[in-house]
């Protein structure tokens, strides 16, 4: 641009709208003093501003409300939402077990069960004693005489009679 009376062309105006610093020094100095070129640039910028404004005016306004975008921060001492119920359940379970263990009804039940067990052992012992007596003395006192059972009769002579020795066999 040699003379100040030569106005900026359309391309230069566009360039000025994009970024005024991209113009040469002469073009810039002309633009800063020329009201015609300033007017052209301003008019073009106004059209572009209108575009932005019209987009907003011609677009339908949002109807839906925003869903809340943030939540309450978690308390660090309690940890995450997963661990809190787990912790509470654990404590409740421990308390329940301790309650049952040390409660009176359970204690008496344990005593009852122990007494029952001792009684059963005593009964078993009595039964085993009776079996042992029967094993040794199967019949009453007078029955062995009737049956000839007393083993006092089983002497050597009797045995020899039942199972004769070889010598006595040859002798006869």
């Amino acid at each position: 641009m040699k003379g100040m009376d030569i106005h900026l062309n359309e391309d230069q105006i566009i360039k000025a709208v994009v970024d005024q610093n991209d113009l040469s020094a002469d073009e810039r100095s002309h633009l800063s003093t020329c009201s015609v070129c300033q007017g052209k640039k301003k008019q073009f910028e106004q059209e572009l501003n209108n575009l932005g404004r019209m987009v907003k005016e011609c677009a339908p306004l949002p109807e839906r409300k925003l869903i809340p975008l943030y939540q309450e921060p978690l308390q660090k001492s309690w940890g995450s939402w997963f661990w809190r119920p787990v912790f509470v359940c654990g404590v409740a379970l421990i308390l329940l077990i301790a309650g049952i263990w040390f409660s009176t009804p359970y204690k008496s039940y344990r005593e009852y069960k122990t007494a029952q067990l001792i009684e059963e052992i005593e009964d078993d012992q009595k039964f085993m004693d009776a079996i042992e007596v029967l094993e040794e003395k199967v019949l009453f006192n007078f029955y062995p005489d009737v049956s000839g059972e007393p083993y006092s009769y089983v002497d050597d002579e009797f045995l020899e009679f039942i199972f004769p020795l070889e010598e006595s066999q040859y002798s006869t």
């Binding site: 677009a59 925003l66 975008l69």
Partner: protein, 195 residues
């Protein structure tokens, strides 16, 4: 952006929100809610989709805010989340069995609901028709840069951060898009007069 448009105030809010200040986080959400909604609507052309996506984008912002190191880059970081969210949406929609075009759905519904503002609604419909016709003439890169700059009002540096491109690439795309915009008499004329 409504009352607070000051970068310093935004940075202050972001820092407080990062420290767990719920009031600041709420303010930040309220501050950017409409911007993000309109940004998404402009790219989906469906109110319901825009509402769903905006909710998702804001949730992602809240979830990842602690990871943001440079609070002065909050705007570009936030818009990057939004852009990626919208891209994912379009990618999923492309492969969706129920891929129906929701274009102009909102207007048809509004026309049946509000008979009184019929003229206004028709004008809005005409604007979007021309806007989309113009946007279709742009390449993908040009379109993204143009909308981010003149609809979402991001700075060139911020656009570069959002799209992971150099400032010179952004300027080149912007220059080309503006040239096409100048050559588009229909939208151009509509904007000269305003609404």
């Amino acid at each position: 952006m409504q009352a607070i448009d000051n970068d310093y105030q935004i940075i202050e809010l972001v820092e407080k929100a990062k420290d767990g200040n719920k009031a600041s986080l709420g303010q930040l959400v309220n501050l950017f809610y409409e911007d993000i909604y309109f940004m998404v609507y402009c790219r989906t052309n469906s109110r319901m989709d825009a509402e769903d996506l905006t909710q998702g984008i804001l949730m992602q912002m809240v979830k990842n805010l602690a990871r943001l190191k440079d609070t002065s880059r909050f705007r570009s970081w936030f818009f990057k989340i939004a852009i990626n969210h919208v891209r994912d949406f379009h990618r999923k929609k492309r492969w969706s069995f129920f891929n129906t075009t929701s274009e102009m759905y909102d207007f048809d519904k509004e026309v049946t609901d509000n008979h009184n503002n019929l003229e206004n609604l028709m004008m809005k419909k005409e604007f979007w028709k021309r806007f989309h016709q113009f946007a279709e003439r742009l390449s993908r890169g040009e379109r993204e840069v143009f909308i981010l700059r003149f609809v979402d009002h991001l700075r060139i540096r911020e656009i570069g951060e959002v799209l992971n491109k150099s400032e010179s690439t952004i300027k080149t795309n912007l220059y080309r898009a503006l040239k096409k915009f100048k050559q588009n008499p229909e939208l151009h004329d509509l904007l000269k007069g305003g609404v």
